[in-house]
């Protein structure tokens, strides 16, 4: 089963929840799709890491063949091409790699060229296979890296946890596309609830079964819990606002592997999630 973990706001606890759930299984795969700032590997410290570069296709022009017809310039919806002073100019960072300019060029003056935008790392940490996507700084979109991470999943493992990017934009959509279940992590702040509502709308739009983990729970009112009760969203579990957990996390340690109470908490949560997915 593929379980995506997401939250509207960054810093809510996606990585805490997905890393600890993965650690609580017999065996599982943890996939860090937060390619702009992946951090799951800091906790897992995977061994035997293999790395692969990820490239996208961008056009390259043969100036001998280009006759300045501008079909490519007019075709590009993103305006990644301009024709100035009798020469075609290509803006690589504006290109969305659709390949249309190459298809439409009547002179066959355009060809594909690889441009590396990041990399994927695969390693293991005890019972968990750790796959991490890393987007190079300055690149426009991490989607090709997320696609690679999710397409590479081999059949077999019972549990696959997808640590999603924050927010509800296209990179989050790409990350949950094939998920069987979505765990939404929420924190007890009004700002958190506002962004939580955005991912809640997203999983409803994608028609994904979902439930909520309330993180950083304190005594007293919890705006995120009130929101769940109001909307009738299933609450899967609660993680307390706890000094010891904070300390473990700040030291990049996995609570499940260090602390018996948290091993119990996340094992219980894993059981509940498993039952929810099989419903």
């Amino acid at each position: 089963m593929k379980i995506a973990v997401l939250s509207g706001k960054g810093g809510t606890g996606k990585t805490l929840v997905s890393v600890n759930l993965a650690a609580a299984t017999q065996t599982s795969v943890y996939i860090d799709c937060d390619v702009e700032e992946p951090n799951g590997y800091l906790f897992f410290r995977p061994e035997g890491v293999e790395e692969e570069e990820i490239a996208i296709k961008i056009p390259s022009v043969d100036e001998q063949l280009c006759n300045g017809c501008r079909i490519c310039v007019d075709f590009c919806k993103f305006n990644a091409l301009a024709y100035i002073n009798g020469k075609l100019k290509i803006f690589n960072e504006v290109c969305h790699s659709c390949g249309g300019c190459i298809l439409f060029c009547p002179e066959k003056a355009l060809s594909e060229q690889d441009k590396v935008i990041g990399r994927v790392q695969k390693g293991t940490s005890e019972n968990v296979t750790v796959n991490t996507g890393i987007l190079n700084i300055g690149e426009a979109s991490g989607i090709p890296i997320i696609k690679k991470l999710l397409n590479d999943i081999l059949p077999g493992p019972e549990f696959i946890f997808i640590d999603c990017p924050p927010g509800s934009a296209c990179i989050a959509m790409e990350s949950i596309r094939d998920a069987d279940y979505c765990i939404l992590v929420a924190e007890p702040t009004l700002f958190g609830v506002h962004n939580f509502n955005m991912v809640y709308e997203l999983v409803k739009l994608f028609d994904k079964p979902h439930g909520v983990v309330l993180n950083k729970c304190l005594e007293g009112k919890n705006p995120a819990e009130e929101f769940c009760l109001e909307k009738g969203i299933r609450i899967l579990g609660r993680i307390p606002f706890d000094n010891e957990l904070g300390l473990l996390n700040s030291n990049a340690q996995i609570a499940v592997r260090e602390n018996e109470n948290y091993k119990m908490l996340f094992s219980a949560l894993l059981q509940i999630v498993t039952e929810e997915v099989q419903k």
Binding site: N79, A82, Y83, F91
Partner: protein, 122 residues
């Protein structure tokens, strides 16, 4: 000499548009014949790369100078690639800038911003 100015309305008295790439119209003014022409800026509604497309439009209009309050990196590459000079507007209206340009009082735009790239005007 033909010059271009991004404008909000189809009038020589129009205000200068604060965005070059997303300006609704591009005024092409001929300082010799004093004729003005307004081009609909198709780049204004594009998903991305508006500056590149607007720059292509003014390059194709065969101008020698662009008068604009701001210009992004990509647009500037196209404009400068066509050996067109970019001047910074100092007056609120198109006509006002044309007058000071003819008097030689406009200076070159030295601050090229990195572009907004879908993040709106900030």
């Amino acid at each position: 000499m033909r010059i271009a100015i991004p404008v909000d309305e189809k009038s020589i008295d129009s205000s200068v548009c604060q965005s070059f790439g997303r300006a609704p119209y591009l005024l092409i003014y001929d300082t010799d014949s004093k004729a003005s022409e307004f081009i609909d800026n198709k780049a204004a509604v594009s998903q991305g790369g508006a500056g590149i497309k607007a720059a292509q439009t003014v390059v194709d209009a065969n101008i020698s100078a662009l008068l604009t309050p701001r210009c992004g990196e990509n647009a500037a590459q196209v404009i400068k690639g066509a050996s067109i000079k970019i001047y910074k507007t100092i007056d609120a209206t198109a006509l006002g800038n044309i007058k000071v340009f003819i008097d030689g009082e406009l200076s070159l735009l030295d601050e090229i911003h990195p572009g907004f790239h879908g993040r709106g005007n900030r």
